[in-house]
């Protein structure tokens, strides 16, 4: 590295000369506006916290008391069940509808399009009330010969359609219509060359989808699905119109008895925020898992790259 290396004997590998380091240790320009804005924001937050804490109408003792209430926890559990089940069913419906949408058959494409068109075109609230009252249209349904033929098994709508099953039907089928669009976008984001390479190896359509296309589509599908999940945690509160026994319904039942309307709504909101926070953290880790092969985030890639890290001279 020193200049006299250049005078090395001919035939030796000559290192190119390296300039000495020139560190940059610059003074930052003053930013008075930034300090002012920060001070204003802190003052506002302090005022907000003060008014909330000293406000006697908020009944913090009641809120804290009801956070662990048995009925509230029961509603919380129903909310979690509704969210997870309707997301799982919605995801399955969505993949199915997306694959139909991308198929060669015009009949399957049209069926899938009809599904998403109808369920995205009507309000979820209407769908929930509709499913809850489905018995008015179909008093009974069963498995057997279609078009009014004999039935093997038959159910009465009044027995099968509880608030929970009506909520699950409404949320899952509605969610499937949105997931279909997300999955379709994910599948379409995969380079067509990937499919060709897989087909050239002799893979069947199903193998191409399962081994090559879907794993890569997941990178595009996961972030919006996480958003859908978080959104679903809160959308379940709509089920309160059919008395679904989830978190908001339970909170409402309690405040109809003790008139602590705001306190009960805050109790419910705190639990919704806990759920969405946990879900956001989970989303972050799942996204990292599916970044495999895409250098920026994957820890495995970083581990693999370590041998290339520059050795100190």
């Amino acid at each position: 590295m020193t200049p006299d290396r250049a005078a090395a004997e001919p035939g030796d590998a000559v290192e190119p000369p390296v300039d000495p380091e020139l560190p940059v240790d610059a003074v930052r320009p003053p930013r008075p506006g930034r300090w002012l804005a920060a001070a204003a924001a802190i003052a506002f937050l302090a005022w907000l916290a003060y008014t909330i804490i000293v406000n006697e109408n908020l009944h913090w003792d009641v809120i804290v008391g009801y956070l662990g209430d048995g009925r509230i926890l029961g509603g919380l559990w129903v909310t979690i069940q509704l969210t997870v089940l309707s997301m799982v069913i919605g995801l399955v419906l969505g993949v199915l509808a997306a694959v139909m949408q991308l198929s060669d058959s015009p009949v399957l494409r049209a069926t899938s399009a009809l599904y998403t068109w109808f369920f995205r075109g009507t309000p979820l609230l209407v769908q929930l009330i509709f499913w809850f009252n489905i018995g008015l249209v179909f008093p009974s349904f069963g498995i057997g010969v279609p078009f009014d033929g004999p039935k093997l098994i038959e159910w009465q709508a009044n027995e099968v359609i509880t608030p929970f099953t009506a909520a699950l039907l409404g949320l899952a089928i509605n969610e499937g219509a949105y997931m279909a669009e997300i999955v379709r976008a994910g599948i379409r984001s995969v380079d067509p060359g990937q499919r060709e390479a897989a087909e050239s190896l002799g893979m069947s359509h199903r193998q191409v989808l399962r081994r090559v296309v879907l794993p890569q589509a997941m990178r595009v599908i996961i972030p919006p699905t996480g958003n859908q999940f978080i959104s679903m945690l809160k959308t379940t509160s709509m089920v309160s119109v059919i008395a679904g026994a989830e978190l908001l319904t339970v909170a409402q039942r309690i405040y109809l008895g003790n008139f602590e309307v705001i306190a009960m709504l805050i109790v419910a909101s705190i639990w919704y925020m806990v759920l969405t926070t946990v879900a956001s953290v989970g989303q972050h880790f799942i996204e990292k898992r599916f970044e495999r092969g895409h250098a920026r985030l994957s820890t495995r890639v970083r581990r693999n790259l370590r041998p290339f890290a520059k050795e100190p001279a």
Binding site: G193, E196, E199, L201, G202, S204, R292
Partner: protein, 260 residues
């Protein structure tokens, strides 16, 4: 991978193959024979139909008319009672297994390491036990000079390395025919030779190859047959050294003037 005496056996037989994309007829009746063990280089200006020709062989494109036989087997159809019956997808997949394909843009599976890319075909398609597939994949990576890159993801490899992994991935299926669709066109100039070296070795081992390329040096040195395609027809064909030394057609002369 190939029988010692292949003399006279035709690996690929194309007859009157036509293909149209919308209003454009890309292939206007291509007939071509590739004897087993030979290397056929297909050259021509861009848009001449040479890639489509190659993609018809393993039916990534379906010809509108004409017949293609690979190793004596009619591609895409079964003949019963004097009529052609289009093959079911599963049978088409079986036909494709024996034909390796290398793409201009590699198309490695980005979510799998180099080793996993090479293992993918045998494990998924042939049902080879993972341990054996892993061992054979490692040997193939060694053969293309990438034994030390087995655990790398495609994004961590140079273009030349990715293309060599792609060649290994095709070879893992033990193909009887290899198709190369401009394998070096997406590479930086200094990376072209490492890929051509692997292809040269493969040709020397007796593999039957169809190579769409702009590398006239490779065609001259390795090719047994040179086919010049222009505007959807084969304009000139013959031994590469003779064709390149004395092109008969004006179109080929003009083309060579541009690429050499």
């Amino acid at each position: 991978m190939n029988e010692p005496d292949d003399s006279g056996r035709l690996m690929v037989r194309m007859r009157a193959v036509r293909k149209r994309f919308g209003a454009v007829e890309v292939l206007k009746g291509i007939s071509l024979d590739v004897p087993a063990g030979e290397v056929v280089c297909v050259v021509g200006p861009s848009g001449s139909g040479k890639s489509t020709l190659l993609r018809c062989v393993n039916r990534l494109e379906t010809p509108d008319s004409g017949r293609i036989w690979v190793d004596g087997e009619l591609m895409g159809y079964a003949e019963r009672g004097g009529r052609l019956h289009a093959l079911r997808p599963a049978e088409l997949s079986r036909q494709r297994r024996g034909i390796g394909m290398v793409f201009q843009r590699f198309h490695l599976f980005p979510h799998r390491t180099a080793l996993e890319n090479v293992m993918e075909g045998p494990v998924t398609v042939l049902g080879t036990p993972a341990a054996r597939a892993r061992r054979e994949a490692a040997e193939l990576l060694e053969r293309v000079g990438l034994a030390d890159r087995a655990g790398h993801y495609p994004a961590q490899l140079s273009g030349g390395q990715q293309q060599r992994v792609a060649i290994a991935r095709s070879l893992a299926m033990r193909p009887k025919l290899m198709l190369f669709d401009e394998p070096t066109s997406a590479l930086d100039p200094e990376l072209v030779q490492e890929v051509l070296a692997v292809m040269r070795d493969l040709a020397a081992s007796g593999m039957t190859m169809m190579v769409v390329t702009h590398e006239m040096g490779f065609a001259r040195e390795v090719g047994d047959q040179l086919v010049f395609v222009d505007d959807g027809v084969i304009v000139e064909r013959g031994h590469p050294r003779e064709v390149l030394a004395a092109p008969r057609h004006e179109r080929l002369r003009a083309f060579l003037g541009q690429v050499l």
